[in-house]
Each structure stands twice: as structure tokens, then as C-alpha cells.
């Protein structure tokens, strides 16, 4: 099976974020990492390839820094990578990101495309499904298991509140992958070495520009959310904090 994995570089989970001068985005001088569900999507693609053979290709969009995501994917076992490299990709909405990806892979023939179920920055949870519609492929979301069948694949969808559902579907298809579908591997030293010689195709903005248009939605402003709750800060050395908390538990909450 030939599998494309869409990956995104996002701010590190505990990185302190600051607004930039536009007030509509964050300052870019933070640490970055792979969007977590995308790491699970890559792992699942590698496992499918190990079972059924084929090829795993990682794709991302973003400035030069985003290449790190692809290097990690190659080091873990992806065969090649595609980088839509331009700072402008950061500001695209899900609709245009999907259009750019579709344009970048128009000469390829994949059986499956994986994305993480959503990103830690925008959190749209849309790009994979939009990509499926643009390609005219079926899709399934929030996937926890993938088995090859005679006619295509059988996937396990996670529903809410502990429910699941198996879905049979034909190929090619797009799947959005849930965190926890598998156990992530680490890159090996040999893998990291080999990654340097693996093909990485760069796609300039100009090559996909004709496919993308104006964003269909616009971030007017970004701000620290207004608190709806009054929060009391408990401060001091640990022992004192513990005493204060127990006092609250006993005399205010009456749970002790």
C-alpha cells in the first residue's frame, strides 16, 4: 500500500506563547514539535507498510523550520517526503491547506492518506475530510484500527462516550487518525543517518498558487480568553500550600 501521511509542525505543548504585532497570530520564536495525532498517523502508516509492503510518504507545509517534522518521519522509516515550503502556508485555512496538498500530489497515486484527527494550534479537525472531498475519495474519521480486506479496508471509528463502530470502505480513502491507535516508535541512530539520503521534494508556493484562493474564514483577533470563573491562587512553600488546600477542602468545600 502506498500511504501519504499529512503532518504538521505545531508549537510545543508547554511553550509559553505570545501574541505577535498583528494581534491575529502568535510570535514564531517558540519551540516546535510534531502535532501529536500526526505522529500516531505516521506510526500507523509505517505499521501498515511493514504488514503489507508499499511506501510511506510524509507531507507538510510551512516555513523551513517545518522540515524537521519530515526529517523525523524519514528517520522513523518514511521512504520520502514532500515539503510545501513557504511561510504563507502557515496562514492558510483548512480549505486552502487541503487544496495545496491536493495540488502537490496530483501526479501521485496513493491508496491511503492519513492525517491526525486535528491540530494542536488551529484545532479545525477539517483538513483530512476536506482533502477527501477534493479528491473525490471516501473518508472516515477518528480511526483507532485499520485492517486490510479483500475489497478495501475495515476501520474502527471511535464514537463518543466509549462507543465504537467498524466501517468497511473501498480504496483509495482518507482516514483521520486518533491519538493512542498504536505505540509510537523512536527513531534509531541508523534511521537518523539514513534519513539524510532519503528524497525530500520541495514544493514552492508558486507551484500550487493557482490551486489556492482567498481564505474562506479570517481570524479577526487572537486574545487570552476572558475568565468566566474567579480563581483563587494558593501560594507559598509546598507544605503551606498543602495546609491551605486542606483548610479549603474541610471548611469551604466540606469534603473532608
Amino acid at each position: 500500500m502506498k500511504i501519504l501521511v499529512c503532518m504538521k509542525q505545531v508549537h510545543q505543548k508547554d511553550a509559553p506563547l505570545k501574541l505577535n504585532e498583528t494581534g491575529a497570530w502568535i510570535r514564531e520564536d517558540v519551540s516546535y514539535e510534531v502535532n501529536e495525532p500526526d505522529a500516531f498517523a505516521l506510526e500507523e502508516a509505517l505499521r501498515q507498510k511493514e504488514k503489507h509492503g508499499g511506501e510511506v510518504v510524509a507531507i507538510t507545509s510551512g516555513p523551513a523550520r517545518a522540515q524537521q517534522v519530515l526529517r523525523e518521519a524519514l528517520a522513523k522509516g518514511a521512504d520520502r517526503a514532500i515539503h510545501l515550503e513557504d511561510n504563507a502556508f502557515v496562514g492558510l485555512d483548512a480549505f486552502n491547506t487541503a487544496k495545496a496538498f491536493a495540488a502537490a500530489i496530483k501526479d501521485e497515486k496513493f491508496d491511503l492518506i492519513f492525517t491526525g484527527l486535528q491540530s494542536d494550534d488551529y484545532g479545525y479537525a477539517q483538513t483530512g475530510v476536506i482533502l477527501a472531498e477534493l479528491l473525490g475519495w471516501p473518508h472516515a474519521t477518528i480511526i483507532m484500527q485499520i485492517e486490510k480486506t479483500d475489497g478495501g479496508i475495515r476501520v474502527k471509528r471511535e464514537l463518543e462516550a466509549g462507543y465504537f463502530q467498524f466501517v468497511d470502505m473501498p480504496l483509495p480513502a482518507v482516514l483521520t487518525i486518533q491519538s493512542g491507535i498504536n505505540k509510537l516508535r523512536y527513531a534509531t541512530l541508523i534511521g537518523i543517518k539514513q534519513a539524510k539520503n532519503k528524497p525530500l521534494r520541495k514544493v514552492a508556493l508558486a507551484e500550487v498558487q493557482s490551486a489556492i484562493g482567498e481564505n474562506l474564514q479570517k481570524i479577526e483577533r487572537l486574545y487570552v480568553p476572558q475568565k468566566t470563573k474567579k480563581t483563587e491562587h494558593i501560594e507559598g512553600p509546598p507544605g503551606e500550600i498543602a495546609k491551605k488546600l486542606v483548610d479549603k477542602l474541610r471548611n469551604e468545600l466540606r469534603v473532608l
Binding site: 505543548k13 508547554d14 506563547l17 501574541l19 502568535i26 501529536e36 485555512d93 483548512a94 480549505f95 494550534d121 484545532g123 479545525y124 479537525a125 477539517q126 475530510v129 476536506i130 472531498e133 477534493l134 471516501p138 472516515a140 474519521t141 477518528i142 463518543e160 462516550a161 466509549g162 462507543y163 465504537f164 463502530q165 466501517v167 470502505m169 486518533q178 491519538s179 493512542g180 481564505n215 474562506l216 474564514q217 479570517k218 481570524i219 479577526e220 486574545y223 487570552v224 480568553p225 475568565k227 468566566t228 470563573k229 480563581t231 483563587e232 491562587h233 494558593i234 501560594e235 509546598p238 507544605g239 500550600i241 498543602a242 488546600l245 486542606v246 479549603k248 477542602l249 469534603v255 473532608l256
Partner: protein, 331 residues
């Protein structure tokens, strides 16, 4: 044709999803702000049977969008049915709950119509004739006001709990119901869904717990779960976790709180090393009192905490266990 707001309510397995009432409340609020009329739609093989329940609320009209091919749910059939219906109706704004089912089909539907979805919103503002929708970004660290720059219909989904379902106003009289039969051609539906099932019985029912001690990534290693357990035991509470902890196998899945786990509302929710991603918060924000311990002072969990402790949980939990034990012993 005036600008109309259309709420698409959700039914699953022959039952109206309760989150639908929240979406009706959202629709009523937007209608009040904009002056646009509010209508509702139910989609399904026998949607008309749910329409009466929706028609009791203060909406101008309810559409039952029906086709035998809408059962069982598939994204192909739902997108095809709603595209037909919406292309004919041309509402200005289409709102839905941000459920797993809606997430599955609404980006497809909007794309098929060349439109956009502002997803997972928590509110809206109507400023100088312009509608903007508020959504969380960067895992809740920021809020964003987002507007549409595309033509209508505009698609918006609202996060579970963003509006109060019990505030959905009843109408003076039942709204008229119109059944709309849609035609879904053969070959449109490509997926074959099997029966919905629940994985093994849920061994732990946290929904009844009065005190919950929950751990997140900040616990760092599996062996550290033990101190959280000791605290839970000392308090006479239950141990729970955010998703990454259960994904790592450090605690079983049935102790997971959040959109994919259990939704709880205990008297006390003590969050240890939980950053407060949206998916976790929707499962516990109804707790009466929330105490959060996290070393990151900007962690979103503090937004909803009643008591905040900015610090290392490994410094704070051990003395807390001792103090709780002392208090319980009558000290």
C-alpha cells in the same frame, strides 16, 4: 428571501442527541442578536418522528429531511442530503453541535458547496452588523474571533457545553413541520458501517464519584501515578486521567475523562499536571469545585479552576497527602 439561521439537530440511533438543545439555544441567541428568523432541520430515515419534539421549541419552522438511505449514518449520505436541501433553501447561517458525527460530515458538505466551516466555537458576537464566532486555539491558550470571508451559507459548529440546553425556549405554539424528501443516487454511499458497539463493559463508573483526582502528562512516568493514587485514597476519591495517560497504558481507558471518555461532575475535581486541552475540559468543567496543580502558569486548566496552584506537583502532592491524612484522623 431574508437571511435565515438553520439549526441542524442531531439524532442517532433513533434518539435526539441532547446536545441538540444547546444548539437550539445558540440559534435562539443569534436570532435575538441579528433579528434573523430561526429554523431547524432534522436529518434521517424517519426524521419526521423527531421533528415534533424540536417544533415545540421557539423556532419558525422545522424541516424533516428524509431518505431511507440516511440510515445508518454515513458521511456520503448526510453530505448529499444536506447539500440538496441547503442549495434549495439557501440559509445564511447553518449551525450544528460539534459532535464526532458532525465533524465527520460537515467539512465534506461545506467543501462540496465551496463553503467553509468555523468549527468548535464557544460563542459569537454581533458587532456593527458583523457576525464573528469565538473559538479556542492553541489548545485553549488563546481565543480567536473568526469571521467568514466566503458567501453564505456559513457553517458553524458549537462545542459541547458552550450553551445551556435547558435554556432553549419553548414556542407559544408548535412550529409547522415540513417533510422534505431528498434523493440520494445509487453509488453515492461508499462506506458500509457496521453496528455501533461499546468496548467491554465500563468497569469504573466515574460519573457517580464525589471526589476525583485526575492526572495528566505532568505526572511524567507511569511509576509516579502511585502518588496520585495515594492522594485519591486519602481523600476517599477515585483516580482518573486525561487521554494521553490512558493512551500510554498507564491507566486503563475506563478512567479517562473527556470527549472520548467519561463526562463527570463531582464535588471536587483535583487536576494534577493536566494542561486542560479542550477535549479534557468538556468532560469535567461541570465539576462543582476544581483545584488545579500545574507548573505552567498559562495552562488553560487555570481558566476554569476555582483554586490554582502554580507549582511542581511532585513538591505539592506528598505534603498534601500527609495533611489530608492528618485532617481525616481528626488532627
Amino acid at each position: 428571501m431574508p437571511d435565515t439561521i438553520l439549526v441542524v439537530v442531531e439524532q442517532r440511533e433513533g434518539k435526539l442527541n441532547r446536545v441538540s438543545w444547546e444548539t437550539i439555544t445558540a440559534g435562539q441567541a443569534i436570532a435575538a442578536a441579528t433579528g434573523w428568523p430561526l429554523e431547524a432541520a432534522v436529518v434521517g430515515a424517519s426524521a419526521a418522528s423527531f421533528a415534533a419534539e424540536v417544533a415545540a421549541k421557539r423556532v419558525a419552522k422545522v424541516y424533516a429531511v428524509e431518505s431511507p438511505k440516511l440510515e445508518p449514518y454515513t458521511p456520503d449520505a448526510f453530505a448529499a442530503a444536506l447539500k440538496q436541501f441547503l442549495t434549495a433553501k439557501q440559509p445564511k447561517l447553518v449551525i450544528m453541535p460539534h459532535t464526532y458525527q458532525v465533524r465527520d460530515f460537515v467539512p465534506k458538505l461545506a467543501t462540496a458547496m465551496g463553503r467553509a466551516v468555523i468549527s468548535d466555537c464557544i460563542g459569537f458576537k454581533y458587532e456593527a452588523g458583523k457576525l464573528v464566532f469565538t473559538r479556542q486555539m492553541f489548545q485553549g491558550k488563546f481565543a480567536a474571533d473568526v469571521s467568514f470571508s466566503s458567501d453564505a451559507p456559513w457553517f458553524v459548529t458549537f462545542q459541547n457545553g458552550a450553551f445551556r440546553g435547558d435554556k432553549a425556549e419553548a414556542g407559544a405554539a408548535a412550529a409547522p413541520v415540513e417533510t422534505v424528501a431528498v434523493n440520494i443516487a445509487d453509488g453515492v454511499i461508499r462506506n458500509k458501517p457496521q453496528e455501533v458497539f461499546k468496548e467491554a463493559k465500563q468497569a469504573v463508573d466515574l460519573t457517580q464519584a464525589e471526589i476525583i483526582v485526575a492526572v495528566g502528562r505532568g505526572i511524567k512516568e507511569q511509576k509516579n501515578i502511585e502518588i496520585a493514587k495515594q492522594l485519591a485514597d486519602a481523600l476517599g476519591g477515585d483516580l482518573a486521567a486525561s487521554r494521553p495517560i490512558c493512551d500510554s497504558g498507564w491507566l486503563p481507558m475506563d478512567r479517562q475523562i473527556g470527549s472520548s471518555g467519561q463526562t463527570v461532575a463531582p464535588k471536587l475535581y483535583l487536576a494534577l499536571g493536566i494542561s486542560g486541552a479542550i477535549q479534557h475540559i468538556v468532560g469535567m468543567k461541570g465539576s462543582r469545585t476544581i483545584i488545579a496543580v500545574n507548573k505552567d502558569s498559562e495552562a488553560p486548566i487555570f481558566e476554569i479552576a476555582d483554586f490554582a496552584v502554580v507549582g511542581n506537583l511532585f513538591d505539592i502532592v506528598p505534603p498534601l497527602i500527609e495533611e489530608v491524612k492528618k485532617a481525616k484522623a481528626g488532627g
